[in-house]
């Protein structure tokens, strides 16, 4: 409004420097401004204040909305699925107030599995959560339905939920989004994922090459070998290293074959007479060949031991053993895992290499060998636990809990499946005794792994120490609250 702008300009400079004159006003003001201007009893400042008050009121009374045709917002598409029940929404509210990512994930999983949607009012809240917690993005996208996709178009930070196709995201997304798309595709269609990366490879810089290449470690297979071997000759060291790391995960790759061949020459079976020549005893002999292809050392195998008590030769052999799939031993000795483990266990000099084989079991995710190790090894190798069938994981976690508490908890929290009641009891008893290390946030973070049946047993987990007992009383109250929310979530979607 021009007249008001004139008032503001005059006000900024001050009446000593600028007056609002009659000519600045429109016809509507002629009479009233004449009365103000001609009033000899007031000074110029009050005349200005009067003029301001009049224009202020004129502006207030004449304020009209803008008329504009054709301004519209496309409506959100009709949803395919129904919104969840009010009870479920109330629980979601409670979970959001509790700030528990673990419970939120459970809630979203149930909502998604039941083909239900979150109430539109909470869609922005969930999109904001997913913006910060990338692991939630898929679930949030599903539970927010088409309303979420529609809403995401108005906020660039929510582009993950805007219905953009994986192909589009790969072409135009942020580095993080491209990496995520590639990782996802690598799970469902590893070949296409590799082809996508091959197509854009010449346009990527070294950093993005190295970052994207990491995704190929998911489902790395024989089809990747040829291209990875060319990538391993690129200039940039970080790209080379990344390619080599992935090749080392593929048993048929040249580098793994090279290690296998060297081990074939290094580890041999020796038959000896025993019991005064009445029986034959087979034992392992481990010795590196006199001449080793120097190329081996360019693939990440260190020549010199980094520990005083381990000789260089033992260190090299150990690295090689870590890098070949455990089933290589079966073809090498034409024997089953039990026999091979026993070969290694026979002598002190060979027993120490079992730890390296365990590393290879974990590296190549060989579940058969994992079970064999648990059955036939005289030593308990905790790192093998996640590769065991669920029932065995529970059994061995409970069996070896005393003495390996922290390690077993560290493995347990990585699990996707709920803990058994006995394992939970063991964990809670230990964590109750260590309230500083395992505080509320521990339970908040891993409540999805806690079976609801434990709710009646919290009292039994009470520590002996009086102070810890009172801390546990508060903690168990908190755990009860979290478990109650978990139970309510399950019920709300039944």
């Amino acid at each position: 409004m021009e007249i008001w702008n004139n008032i503001i300009q005059a006000a900024m400079l001050g009446t000593d420097k600028r007056q609002v004159v009659a000519g600045e006003f429109t016809e509507d003001f002629t009479e009233v401004m004449a009365a103000v201007t001609n009033n000899q009893s007031i000074d110029k400042e009050e005349k200005f204040l009067q003029a301001s008050a009049i224009v202020f009121n004129y502006r207030q009374c004449g304020s009209l909305p803008v008329y504009k045709e054709g301004i519209d917002l496309p409506e959100a598409p009709v949803e395919e699925f129904p919104v969840c029940r009010q009870a479920a929404t109330n629980i979601l509210n409670d979970i959001l107030n509790e700030d528990s990512l673990s419970l939120l994930t459970i809630w979203l999983q149930f909502c998604g599995k039941n083909n239900q949607l979150v109430t539109p009012r909470l869609v922005p809240v969930l999109l904001n959560k997913a913006e910060k917690q990338k692991a939630l993005q898929g679930l949030v996208e599903k539970c927010c339905g088409r309303r979420g996709e529609w809403l995401a178009q108005f906020n660039a930070n929510w582009s993950f939920s805007s219905g953009t196709s994986a192909d589009e995201l790969w072409q135009t997304g942020t580095p993080d989004q491209r990496k995520q798309v590639l990782q996802q595709l690598r799970i469902t269609d590893p070949g296409t994922a590799r082809e996508w990366l091959q197509q854009t490879w010449p346009q990527e810089n070294a950093n993005s090459k190295a970052a994207l290449l990491k995704a190929l470690s998911i489902n790395a297979g024989n089809d990747d070998i040829a291209w990875l071997e060319t990538v391993a000759t690129e200039k940039a060291q970080k790209v080379k290293d990344e390619a080599l790391n992935i090749l080392k995960l593929i048993p048929a790759s040249a580098v793994v074959q090279k290690y296998k061949n060297l081990l074939r020459e290094t580890v041999t079976l020796k038959k000896e007479k025993a019991m005064f020549g009445l029986t034959t005893k087979t034992s392992l002999q481990i010795q590196l060949p006199a001449v080793i292809d120097e190329e081996i050392y360019k693939t990440g195998i260190e020549k010199l031991s980094n520990q005083k008590e381990i000789p260089d030769e033992e260190f090299i052999v150990s690295q090689l053993m870590r890098s070949v799939p455990p089933d290589s031993w079966e073809s090498l000795f034409t024997a089953n895992p039990e026999t091979i483990i026993n070969y290694f266990q026979q002598q002190e000099s060979t027993k120490k290499f079992l730890a390296a084989i365990v590393i290879s079991v974990v590296r190549f995710q060989d579940k058969r060998w994992a079970v064999a190790f648990m059955q036939y090894s005289k030593i308990f190798y905790i790192d093998i636990i996640p590769l065991l069938p669920l029932q065995q994981q529970e059994f061995y976690s409970n069996k070896f809990f005393g003495g390996y508490e922290n390690s077993i908890i560290n493995h347990a929290i990585e699990r996707k499946e709920e803990w058994g009641v006995e394992l939970t009891r063991n964990i809670f008893r230990f964590t109750a005794d260590n309230p500083y290390q395992y505080n509320r946030s521990f339970y908040n973070k891993y409540i999805h792994l806690v079976p609801v049946q434990i709710i009646g047993e919290l009292e039994k987990c009470k520590p002996a120490n009086d102070y810890d007992k009172s801390v546990w009383s508060n903690t168990s109250e908190y755990i009860t609250k979290l478990i109650t929310l978990k139970i309510q979530t399950i019920k709300a979607f039944q």
Partner: protein
């Protein structure tokens, strides 16, 4: 009466109380509980041996608890309400225990009791003398304020941001001395102008013009209508005897609480409750003041519906009111708002004509939808008329998500061409956003 969880939590005095209330919203802590049409009660096991007795009068939404908390309502009151909202079937006990019945009885007796002291003789001469002195003090203060304002406009407002808060607080204090607390507040608000945003000059001049209109009204009190004179006196800070006000007849209606705004200044919390009479179509502003540890007379929460008699302060444009009697509470009411932005402009203009220094207020409008135009968000009515959303409106995405691009019946708060949504109707339910 069934308040939603959001409505219950809106009664909480602070965030900590909300959290603590939520923690008590399950059955584990309540050793006894019950509800009938009049009240809700429960005994909550705290850290002591004896459980706290918590009771809520549902007609007046008043709370009482035996806990030592200075917050109002306390976490037990909130927890009990939340508990009942979540699991009403667990409240099987209908017979109020003695401690509840006694409280309700006392409340009833207090309501029915006639105000005392009405027959006390009044020394009218002394009262007149006091009034004269007050008017003289205010008039002197106003002259000083006018001089101060003239100095501002003489020197220009450009250097104002550099003057700092003391420049305004000194004049506000002077207005307090002159027994014009309303003007003191207006001066304080002038000083609270956000000098960091573009266009602060216009906001500043709006408030300066508003102050000038009030003081001009006072100086010309003999030439203005009696009702506008009351408005001027209210703005200056002449208090209205609320007992006298309560003697007057009010409007009995079903009032919907449209919104609640709480501000805190010098440990004094001011609660601004915006109400709408569903039958009378009258808007009302009910102010409640509280200091820490002291609750308000009425617990109002947006979306709540109360059957009550409201008495309005005398005004050319009655808006501020007090609750004379609260008869019952509920939680659903359907209202029909204005049909377009033009109707809002017409209504706002009429209000401004009657009282030229009005401030932001709510309006109920039918079928508004958020739209984007010129890279800004607006609210469009069915006639393609747009009013801009206030910049920095925090709940834009909630509004968008709830609307899904469709028009909604809405309560908007603001003035002229800048408004923000206060609440919307989702089906039959009014919800605050």
């Amino acid at each position: 009466m069934n308040l939603s969880e959001d409505q219950i939590l809106a009664l909480a005095p602070d965030e900590a109380s909300k959290k603590a209330g939520r923690d008590l919203s399950g059955p584990s802590k309540w050793v006894s509980k019950g509800a009938n049409e009049q009240a809700l009660w429960g005994e909550c096991q705290g850290s002591g041996s004896k459980p706290y007795q918590t009771q809520i009068d549902l007609a007046g939404m008043t709370f009482k608890c035996s806990c030592p908390s200075r917050k109002f309502p306390c976490k037990h009151g909130l927890g009990l309400l939340l508990f009942q909202a979540k699991q009403p079937v667990l409240f099987t006990e209908k017979e109020a225990p003695a401690w509840v019945a006694e409280w309700l009885k006392k409340k009833q007796e207090k309501t029915e009791k006639k105000p005392e002291g009405a027959s006390q003789p009044v020394d009218e001469a002394a009262q007149f003398k006091r009034q004269q002195a007050r008017e003289k003090g205010v008039a002197d203060g106003i002259e000083e304020l006018l001089r101060w304002m003239k100095d501002i406009v003489r020197n220009g407002i450009l250097p104002i941001p550099e003057k700092g808060p003391a420049f305004f607080s000194a004049m506000a204090k002077r207005m307090i001395d002159a027994k014009a607390p309303g003007l003191a507040g207006m001066v304080k608000n002038l000083g609270n102008t956000d000098f960091f945003i573009e266009g602060w000059q216009s906001t500043f001049m709006d408030q300066l013009a508003r102050i000038y209109l009030v003081i001009s009204g006072f100086k010309n009190k003999d030439n203005i209508s009696p009702s506008l004179k009351e408005d001027v006196r209210n703005w200056i800070g002449f208090t209205q005897n609320q007992d006298e006000l309560k003697e007057k007849n009010g409007i009995t209606d079903t009032w919907l609480v449209l919104g609640k705004q709480v501000t805190e200044d010098d440990n004094l919390a001011t609660e601004r409750n915006w109400l709408y009479g569903t039958q009378s179509g009258q808007y009302a502003l009910v102010l409640q003041f509280s200091v820490p540890g002291q609750g308000t007379n009425f617990s109002l929460t947006p979306g709540m519906v109360l059957q009550a008699e409201l008495v309005f302060f005398p005004s050319a444009e009655p808006m501020r009111a007090i609750i004379k009697r609260q008869l019952s509470t509920g939680n659903q009411a359907r209202v029909t708002g204005l049909s377009s932005w033009l109707k809002v402009a017409e209504s706002a203009t009429n209000s401004n004509v009657r009282v030229p220094f009005t401030q932001e207020r709510p309006y109920i409008i039918q079928q508004l939808k958020p739209v984007q135009y010129n890279s800004q968000w607006w609210l469009a009515d069915r006639e393609n008329r747009l009013v801009q959303l206030k910049s920095g409106y925090q709940n834009l995405y909630t509004l968008l998500s709830v609307s899904g691009g469709k028009a909604l019946d809405m309560v908007v708060f603001g003035k002229e061409n800048l408004y923000e949504p206060m609440g919307i109707w989702e089906g039959e339910n009014y919800i605050v956003i």
